[in-house]
Symmetry: C2
Subunit: 250 residues, 2 copies
Amino acid sequence: MPANNDSAPAPRAPRTPRERARAQTTADIVRLGREHLAVHGAAALSLRAVARDLGVVSSAVYRYVQNRDELLTLLLIDAYGELGDEVEAAVARVPEADFAGRFRALGRAVRGWAVREPARYALLFGSPVPGYRAPAERTAGPGTRVIRSLTAIVDAAWRAGALRAEPEPLAGPSAAAVSAQLAVDLAAIREELGLALPDGLLARGALVWTSLFGAISFEVFGQYGEGTFAAKDALFEHHLQVLAGVAGLE
Amino acid sequence: MPANNDSAPAPRAPRTPRERARAQTTADIVRLGREHLAVHGAAALSLRAVARDLGVVSSAVYRYVQNRDELLTLLLIDAYGELGDEVEAAVARVPEADFAGRFRALGRAVRGWAVREPARYALLFGSPVPGYRAPAERTAGPGTRVIRSLTAIVDAAWRAGALRAEPEPLAGPSAAAVSAQLAVDLAAIREELGLALPDGLLARGALVWTSLFGAISFEVFGQYGEGTFAAKDALFEHHLQVLAGVAGLE
DNA sequence: TGTACATCAGTGAACGCGCGTTCACTGATGTAC
DNA sequence: TGTACATCAGTGAACGCGCGTTCACTGATGTAC
């Protein structure tokens, strides 16, 4: 499990009353932005509205936030942080050697958060906000916690010899082969995350990752038809079960 | 393959010059809306901007479109229609009995369209537009063409006996079971789409469906890290291959 | 074929609204000596 | 402990912008007789 994102400078504990007030107000701005997000969506997020809710004149917010884009960045980091915390906590609650259990806990944690916080989920995993580009140097750390957590589980299972042998589960005439180009990307990822997983399983891990979010997005964004699936929990549990198999976990 | 959506009343071929002009202008409005969408996103779609591009005073658009929401609906239907056309055409180009080939053709067609039309893809499969609700009676038809196409392929494979026996490919101690509640939903779907697929395979079909869109959304919305995957085509082909296996196709 | 009337497309002004951002300012809080 | 100065939070006015929607209107196109 990766330690907390280390690229963002940790804000020192505030000393003076003025510093404490400033930290409080900044936190309030983020909180109000969050609420505004939930009601009106990211594209309509407005500094003026936040100022109004804060009970302050609109220009005052600029003491705390450079501009609208920076507020979006703060909200992004805030959301990634909360999601990461919940996911890591849920995973840690399952015994280390129960790899499939850990995977399912991860999936349920993501889904739980997404359903509770649809607007923030949409900010992270929905359509990009037009005209806004997240600064990679600030969001890359918090934004990769879930995938790090996921690959850590599968990698641990692999190292423990608890993973189905690579091409086995879906072998056949067209068993998915990893092309040479793809292998280059996978090698870089393996390097960066310090993994031992072979190509095929790593590629499958990527698929499981996107599939998990695909299933959650369909639910949160209402892409299943109107009343098509009433048993959303059961459907998701089924998906988790199958996805665990795709990842090679029992 | 479903015939063209039959819920929307087919507009008769325009007779008089006035009628032809009206059809032309309406088409222009949709086209301009599409372009506006691509640049500024759905939330910022504006009738005034469309009117400007059309070279007409803003109130004139109201002759053609009730309000902003109706323009969104037209764009939604337009996009679903084009996607549906391309997917169905791509599938039809592969021999009927090559089920896995048809599935891959479907996946490639969706991805191809999504990459070419990211804004319209986002309108259909991204975060919901705040404050807008699509009228089900107009969008349900065109909006289900891809999933109908997908299930038709898998169902045909099943009927032809070309599908791996149900729980086989990923059998094991925790082979994904379909709960009783989920079975109710699946029965309704089977009924509505006229399928023969058993529960397990139908549930897997739903997972494959959401997974396909999950992979595409990650790519189109830039959710993979900055330069994480350079070999996007190869990655997608790999995913398709694995997903075909998950669906039970060879 | 010609005339009288009805329909329709598009105009231009207006309503009331919200937005991001800048700027010179007041007054309170903190710091150095 | 007291004073002089620097820092900071918040004000209020302003700039220039865009939006959706309504309304009374003009003039062109179509239709009935």
